[in-house]
Symmetry: C2
Subunit: 475 residues, 2 copies
């Protein structure tokens, strides 16, 4: 499909603003930006704009608004829901934030960091550590994911149980709006009640309301002690009981509490080189507990042992291994982090990123496993994820002898089956991955009525021409 | 002034919906609702609607929308900025949420509480404590302030340094919109990325975008140990240094870090019966530190002593008293909590609820004190408040022999003088009290351009007829 007429003059105008290195129009140059990392969304784009600073982002948006051209902001392109991928239409401009890549300032006393949208989460974490602080947000894609995208999708990850989601870490934002105007909300205040909380509207809006160009984030003290245990448990109920024990002992020390199924862990041991079970025998479920504190001489190891000993006596825990070194800690986390990769190597799988109240996780897993087994004999449930905040990746692996393509073609039926159970527990059909291009069709059913109407009114108020990430989030 | 024509039929319609006890139209009955607690705003209202549940709130809004009648939601009527007070026009309907007063559910495992808008903050705190948890929000007016108003204004208070502001505690909301439709966002999920974050738009909007009727709040474990110290320091710089020492030692244990001036504390000792300085000699400034933890055998008292000993040796702290009992703890807090009352008894005072980055607090206090002294010889600065989150109540007491009425008539000049210094430090002119009717005129200057334009678009999108708290927040 040829680009629209209005864009014939748009591309030279963009080139004039951005310079020769700032605009990619050759299909070969565009291609890496036009395909998502899971290769599920292969689209086409009219161009990739690569502005060097906020002023250039604003200039791009002014030109795009004048031409009525749709714009897709893109960071590290690590969306799980196709949020940053162009459609097949070929008329969209990809706006890459990658060149806005400076950590501008870190203040260890105020515990804040000012960081541009294109800095990778990993680079931001490292900069905070060097200043003696910690940016307490950790997700699998942190090496590639960029701050702008992380905030746009309100990323969650492993440490939400303690520090909340990305939105809980945002003090200030700078945002370029659909018409090219700039909102400078770069304040680093812990209290500021001066009108509507605009920053929280942009965080989680997935690029449909504005383009985040810079952020001021909260930091926390760098931990002085970290203790990690890998625990075999008889069932998910026991894992919840164990979580309750750690909560009762010292809730503030829990930095991660992850759940893995026996089968999913078996996949990791089978397919991932170097993966080793640190226990004598396999179990139906495993819990990974990470405690951390910035207190000196906190004796976290003692706390961990005391809670686990009581849990072993009560039969809540069958066996447990405590990491004795950084290498052992990494080996334990590897069993959790490689779950997605192992599932891929085992065969085709359908992903469900869902959440329920923490107390409902075991009942949800039981019911959803049964429901999927009724839907498709031989299907293999491999639930894992962030039990401490109720966010379970309820993934389904194809039956052993099934055709992968046939299995993947059933994805909507499988997702619907899981989501029916999620609904019974007042849960969410998208806990941390967002809506993107994958799930807008679910919005009317789940967030319909007054809620979707409110979202539509806000979208129309902030982007009346609908040029920012059209078709994403809202159906 | 007579009520508008459209309201002649509105009142009987409201009465039919709410029943005889649900609508107050007698001026004597209306009077207590039409005056704010500081007696700065004495307005008139057409009626006070007292709905019994969410359905009745919705019915009131449908009728008001049809009649084009302005509606002012009101909770405990404890606003510091006239946010819940009617104007002189007499055409506004006060919508009191007081009858929605049930704590619906507390889940100690999920650490959540479902509470209706009319429950007082104190009652909500007590209900959480009875369930073995804590609602970590504490403000001076907690005995009267109601949850709906607390969220509408995004209250801050003493524990923000650790737990954030009211908005950080909100998981779910139910809101009645301007047209009488109901948004049910009563979810208690720790992760839910399904579209725009509507709840954070209503929190802090001061009743101008919708009426909060029910909320689901996060709770935290009830502390097992609390330790409080009252410290004499030579200046505000030393207080900041002390804060840094506690942060470096164990930031997560700091539950409050309050600053008081020597003069403000002298007022308390002079005017408040029973107030006693727990130290041998007065000092230029005082810091109140409260540590708390839910860990068993945490030895907080030892931590407090260790940090204070090192600070005494360094000259950062001149003297300190550690509370040995609950009674001593209350006596120390009394010195802080009675600051406003003591200032009132000393004479006329002008209040400034401002914030700057934590690291700038001492420089701000120094500069603002100098600026006010230049503006008005003899004026007495009595800064106090939440140093740990940069929120200082920079209050100014009249010169000793000045006429109180004359002094109060200078309030705008005094506020402007303080705010000029706030601006130099990239601070906020309203940290926790909000905008209400007192400060909308400041908005164009401080939040003008793209920011105010965004707020106006959102207001128009959610309340196109402008019937919800008109004239509040936005100029």
């Amino acid at each position: 499909m040829p680009v629209a007429n209005s864009q014939i003059s748009l591309l030279p105008a963009l080139s004039a603003v951005l310079g020769p290195s700032g605009l990619l129009t050759d299909p070969a140059d565009i291609a890496p930006y036009a395909e998502d990392w899971r290769k599920l969304y292969r689209g086409r784009a009219a161009a990739v704009a690569r502005p060097a600073d906020t002023a250039q982002v604003a200039a791009v948006m002014r030109l795009a608004a004048a031409a009525g051209a749709p714009v897709i902001p893109q960071g590290g392109n690590t969306s799980m829901v196709g949020g940053a991928s162009p459609t097949e239409a070929g008329n969209e401009i990809i706006l890459s934030l990658s060149r806005l890549n400076r950590v501008r300032e870190i203040d260890p006393l105020d515990m804040t960091m000012t960081v541009e949208a294109g800095v990778s989460l990993k680079a931001a974490q490292n900069a905070a550590l060097e200043a003696g602080c910690m940016l307490p947000l950790s997700i699998s894609s942190e090496g590639s994911a960029q701050i702008g995208g992380v905030l746009a999708v309100n990323a969650g990850g492993n440490n939400t149980v303690r520090y909340g989601n990305a939105r809980d870490l945002v003090l200030g934002l700078e945002v370029v709006l659909a018409d090219g105007s700039i909102w400078n909300g770069l304040r680093r205040l812990r209290k500021d009640n001066t009108g509507y909380c605009l920053r929280q509207l942009f965080v989680g809006s997935e690029g449909t309301l504005g383009i985040i160009t810079t952020a001021i984030l909260k930091l926390v003290p760098r931990p002085r002690e970290v203790a990690v245990a890998f625990c075999a448990v008889p069932d998910a109920e026991a894992a919840l009981d164990l979580f309750g024990r750690f909560q009762a002992h010292d809730a503030a020390a829990i930095q991660a509490f992850e759940l893995m199924s026996g089968l999913g862990t078996e996949f990791v041991l089978r397919h991932i080189p170097g993966a080793v079970l640190p226990l004598a025998a396999p179990a139906p479920f495993y819990a990974l507990v990470e405690l951390a504190t910035s207190r000196p001489n906190a004796g976290l190891r003692g706390s961990l042992e005391a809670v686990l000993e009581a849990a072993l006596e009560a039969g809540t825990v069958l066996d447990a291994a405590i990491a004795e070194s950084e290498a052992q800690r990494a080996a334990i986390w590897k069993l959790r982090e490689e779950h997605s990769e192992a599932q891929k190597r085992e065969g085709a799988s359908v992903k469900n990123d869902v959440s329920v109240p923490v107390s409902k996780v075991p009942a949800f897993i039981r019911r959803a496993t049964e429901a999927c087994a009724r839907l498709m004999p031989g299907i293999r449930a491999v639930p894992f994820g962030h039990m401490g905040d109720g966010n379970i990746h309820f993934n389904l692996e194809q039956p052993v002898d099934a055709d992968p393509a046939w299995f993947l073609a059933q994805d909507h039926a499988i997702m619907d089956c899981v989501n029916e159970v999620v609904r019974e527990f007042d849960g969410s059909f998208s806990a941390e991955h967002g809506i993107g291009r994958l799930k807008p069709y679910m919005m009317p059913d789940w967030r319909g009525g007054a809620e979707l109407e409110l979202m539509r009114r806000i979208k129309a108020a902030l982007d009346p021409a609908g040029i920012l990430s059209p078709g994403r989030v809202l159906p």
